[in-house]
Each structure stands twice: as C-alpha cells, then as structure tokens.
C-alpha cells in the first residue's frame, strides 16, 4: 500500500509543480501587480493601493469597452448558434451516410490558422476587397461600403466564422445522445416533425447549446486579434486595452487590474453557465 502511495506522488508531483510554478504563481503575481502602481519615473511602486481599481470604476472608458466586448460576444453567440445549431441538426438527422465526412468538414477549419482566417475576411471586406468589388461589379452599390471593414461588423463576422465549429461540436454531441426511440415515440403519439423538434429535440439538446455558447462567448469576449486586425477605433475590445497597457501605453499595474477584472468576469459567467447546464441535463 505504501508503494502505491509513493507512485501516486511520483505521478502527481510533476504536473502539480508545473501548474504551481507556471499558472498559480503568475496569477498571484498578476493579482499583486493590480494593487501596485507606477510612480512618476515609470517605476513600479510595490505598495498596496486600490488606485487602479478606483481608476477603472471612475473612468467611463473601461466600462464602455467592457460593455462593447460583451455586446460583440453576445452577437457572436447569437450568430454562431443561428448557423451552428441547424448545421448540427443537419449532421445528426439528415446527413445519413455522409455524416462522418461532413462532420470532418466542420472540424477542418478549426485546424486552419486563426490568423489566416481573420486575414481572409480582411481581404473580403476591404474597400478593394472581394465583397465590394463584387457589389460594384453587379451595380448593387455605387461606392465601396466602408462599414464592412474596421468596424464591429467585421469583428463579429470574423469571430463568428472562427467559433462556429466550437458550437457545432457540443451541439452534435448532445443531439447524438437523444435515443432514437424518443423521436419515434413522439411521432407515434401524433406529433409532427416540427412539434417533435420543439418539444423533444430542442429541450434535450440544451446542455450542448449552453456548452457551445459559453465557449463562444468567453473566447469572443477575451479576443484581441480580430479587433486588432479588422476592428476600427470603435471596436476596441477589453483584451486590446490590456495588451496596450502592457505595450505602448506602458502601465503594467493598471493592465494587471484590468486583467483581474476580466478574470473575475470569466469565472462568474462560467459558474452561471455550469449551473444552467447542470439544471438542464436530464438522465
């Protein structure tokens, strides 16, 4: 018995040590930094103060950006579900023998570089990009549409494109779990296909929907690449603020404070959605 205890320690120690050193300690550092500040000479002052947090509360910019990030994230969730849920239904109920192949076809874009995909949308939406050129060519518009690029629109479309597969996977998993007999039973009792969908399929697929939506929301909320590449000044998101504070706008303690706020928000949202998912999970 002591032998197996020893081997258990042997196994858990390396990951434990790594996690402690590279995750736990850094987060602690982050936390500490958020309470420190910069002095006039741009040096970090290691004295406890709530100045950063007060600054965040008092300056409207931060709340605005956070709300904007949430708005964008919500839009992404809405769109990814709008596209991804029917796609999931198609794969599980209509794809038949092509299902495996078509399922892979959803996963392939996941493996293609994020940067590549984001850049592709830049190509499509630019003033001389595909979309505008096409619209001009068939005389649908007379001038290139400016709002396509460097706008929340571009950010939302790009993020939707990136995260649709993230939504499709858990949706398919939960749809697959529905026993076929429940659908036959519903039909047997007189429900049309649409009624079966509303009353049986949809409620039973909710855990998968929550899981996918959570993922899409959190990842969109904290995204900093899409707004940087395709967003304009009106679509700066909260992760960009943090990146800037650690870059050109050099103020690490303030940046740490923003990061802690983001972390806190992510935890809260995760807890809420986990509760929801547990509530809606049946048998």
């Amino acid at each position: 018995m002591a032998r197996s205890r020893l081997s258990a320690w042997f196994v858990t120690l390396p990951p434990f040590a790594w996690i402690a050193l590279f995750l736990f300690v850094p987060y602690c550092l982050l936390f500490c930094y958020s309470f420190w500040s910069l002095d006039a000479a741009q040096q970090v002052v290691h004295r406890f103060s709530l100045a950063n947090y007060l600054h965040l509360i008092q300056t409207p910019l931060y709340l605005t950006v956070i709300l904007r990030s949430m708005r964008i994230a919500f839009s992404v969730v809405g769109l990814t579900l709008l596209i991804g849920y029917p796609l999931g239904c198609f794969l599980v109920f209509r794809a038949g023998k092509y299902r495996r192949m078509l399922y892979q076809a959803v996963i392939i874009p996941l493996w293609v570089s994020y940067l590549v995909r984001a850049y592709a949308w830049k190509v499509i939406f630019g003033n001389e990009g595909v979309m505008n050129t096409l619209l001009l060519w068939c005389h649908a518009t007379r001038h290139p549409l400016g709002f396509l690029l460097y706008s929340p629109f571009a950010v939302i479309v790009t993020l939707t494109h990136i995260y649709v597969p993230f939504v499709v996977l858990p949706v398919v998993a939960s749809l697959e779990k529905i026993p076929h007999e429940l659908l036959e039973s519903s039909s047997d009792l007189g429900a049309t296909a649409w009624q079966t969908f509303l009353r049986v399929i949809l409620p039973l697929s909710l855990p998968g929907v929550v899981s996918g939506a959570t993922f899409a929301f959190l990842l969109s909320f904290g995204d900093f690449l899409a707004p940087l590449l395709l967003g304009g000044p009106s679509s700066v998101m909260i992760a960009n603020i943090v990146a800037n504070l650690f870059g050109a706008d050099y103020n690490w303690p303030l940046g740490a404070a923003v990061a802690v706020v983001i972390l806190f928000m992510v935890m809260v949202i995760l807890t809420i959605t986990q509760r929801l998912e547990r509530r809606w999970r049946v048998a």
């Binding site: 197996s4 081997s7 858990t12 390396p14 990951p15 996690i19 590279f22 995750l23 850094p26 987060y27 550092l29 982050l30 930094y33 596209i83 991804g84 029917p86 796609l87 198609f90 109920f93 209509r94 892979q104 076809a105 392939i108 874009p109 493996w111 293609v112 570089s113 994020y114 940067l115 590549v116 995909r117 850049y119 592709a120 190509v123 499509i124 630019g126 001389e128 595909v130 050129t133 096409l134 494109h161 649709v164 049309t192 296909a193 959190l218 990842l219 904290g222 900093f224 690449l225 992760a239 943090v242 990146a243 690490w252 940046g255 740490a256 990061a259 983001i262 972390l263 992510v266 995760l270």
Partner: protein, 263 residues
C-alpha cells in the same frame, strides 16, 4: 414536410459556404497577379509563391515555430499525461481545485495567460526568447493535452490492467506495457492537435516573444506594415498544411484501428 427536409439541407450548405468561403477566396487570389483587387481575378500567376519561397525571414520564422511546436508537444504531453492520469485514477485533497487550475487556460483569454507569464519572466529576471515562448505554449496547451488524454484514458478497458496486475506486473510495468500502447491513437491525435495549435498560437506568444519571431508573429508584423499578396500565398500554404495534417491524423488513426482487428 418534404420541403422542410430540403430547407435544412440548403441551410447547411449555406453554413458550409460561410465556413469555407474565406479560405477559397485566399487560395484563388494567391494566384492572382493583381493581388487582392479586382473581381473576377485575372492574370493567373505563381509569382507570389515564388516571392514567398525566396523570403528567408519567413522561413526562419517557420523554423522557429517548428522548434517551439515540437518542444511544446513534448512538454505538454509530459505534464499533461500525469495530470490526466491523476485526475482519472486518484482522489486527493484539492483535486477539483487542481482540475480547475489545469483547465483554466482553455477558457481564460490568451492575453491574460500571456501577461501573467510575462510578469513571472520579468520578476524572475529572465530574458524573453524562444524559451519563454516554449514555456508559455506548454502552460497554455497542457490544458488541451490533459483534456484529450483524459478522454482517452476513460475509454480504456480497466480489466486489462487488472489482468496485468494479477499476473504480477507492478504499476509502472503495467503503464508501460499495457496503458500506453492502448493509448497510442489518443496520444498521437493529441500530439498532432497540440502541434497545430502551437504553430498558430498568437495571444500568449505576443507577450513572451524575444528577438526571434514565430511564423504567426512574422505574418502579423508584416500585416501591420501593410499586406502584400504574398500573404495570400503563405496563408494558402498554411491551409494546405492543415488539411494534410488532418487527413494524416485520420489515416493514422484508422490504420491503428485496423491493426487492432487482426487476431
């Protein structure tokens, strides 16, 4: 009812078009002489690919990325496997906290993981370099490795391990001869996934990069200066690489399965 069937199929077709449109556009325009402007594309050319192949800075960054990715795979699997094993087999105080911490990088924005590691680097007096990038990737992607390996462990037939113990093999022997071979497919798939994610990692890398660039950051800095159609070419090549990788992994996994079927 019949109409309803085809509506769903058409909708799905639209969804697939949305997923693949940007990539198709990129590939098409990488062969276009005039770069991105103009529709439909005229003047097919391989010039951009030629430029790309002559671009030494780009290929250096590819080399850097590969080094980082391979190191990341090794590290994340070495850390992730014991972590997954411990989560699957053992119960110990603080287990759920441990689990949450391990999986945190999956949902926390990469920016935050990046800056916290930056703080660690600076505080401990190290310089930023490819090494710091490797540690950053490994930390972030251990979560992915642990998740995949955990799923693979759960699918194992425990009675095989019990038989091994019954026949006198210790835990370590059983692990080496029974568990790991049984996980071959899963481990391979995980390695491939971590490799791909590391090659494409930007958020964490952004804060930990020293003087040498990885591929995504090289592309990124070029884009900041103003895109050239050469970008389309590299993007298309990356896409090709991704597709080849995924088919390779599928082929390997299916080969593994047929090997099992042989008596």
């Amino acid at each position: 009812m019949k109409a309803g069937r085809s509506v769903l199929t058409v909708y799905a077709g639209g969804a697939y078009a949305f997923l693949y449109l940007p990539i198709v556009v990129l590939v098409v325009y990488s062969f276009n002489r005039d770069g991105v402007g103009g529709f439909p594309p005229q003047h097919w050319t391989l010039d951009w690919y030629r430029t790309l192949f002559a671009d030494s800075a780009m290929w250096t960054s590819v080399g850097n990325s590969v080094i980082v990715a391979l190191s990341t795979v090794a590290l994340s699997m070495l850390i992730g496997f014991p972590a997954a094993y411990a989560l699957d087999r053992y119960s110990f105080p603080g287990k759920s906290a441990f689990q949450r911490l391990v999986l945190l990088p999956l949902i926390v924005p990469g920016v935050i993981t990046g800056i916290s590691l930056l703080l660690l680097t600076v505080t401990s007096g190290f310089r930023l370099s490819l090494a710091t990038v490797i540690f950053g990737h490994a930390t972030a992607l251990t979560a992915v490795a642990a998740t995949e390996i955990f799923a693979g462990l759960a699918k194992l037939d425990r009675s095989l391990e019990e038989a091994s113990a019954d026949l006198g093999a210790g835990k370590l022997r059983t692990l080496w001869h029974i568990v790991l071979p049984g996980m071959r497919t899963s481990l391979l798939g995980t390695a491939l996934l971590v490799f791909t994610l590391s090659m494409d990692e930007i958020a964490v890398t952004f804060f930990l990069i020293g003087r040498e660039n990885t591929l995504p950051l090289e592309i990124w800095s070029r884009l900041r200066r103003g895109a050239t159609p050469e970008m389309n070419a590299i993007a298309s090549l990356i896409f090709l690489f991704s597709v080849v990788t995924i088919f390779l992994s599928q082929w390997l996994m299916s080969r593994n399965n047929t090997e099992r079927i042989k008596p």
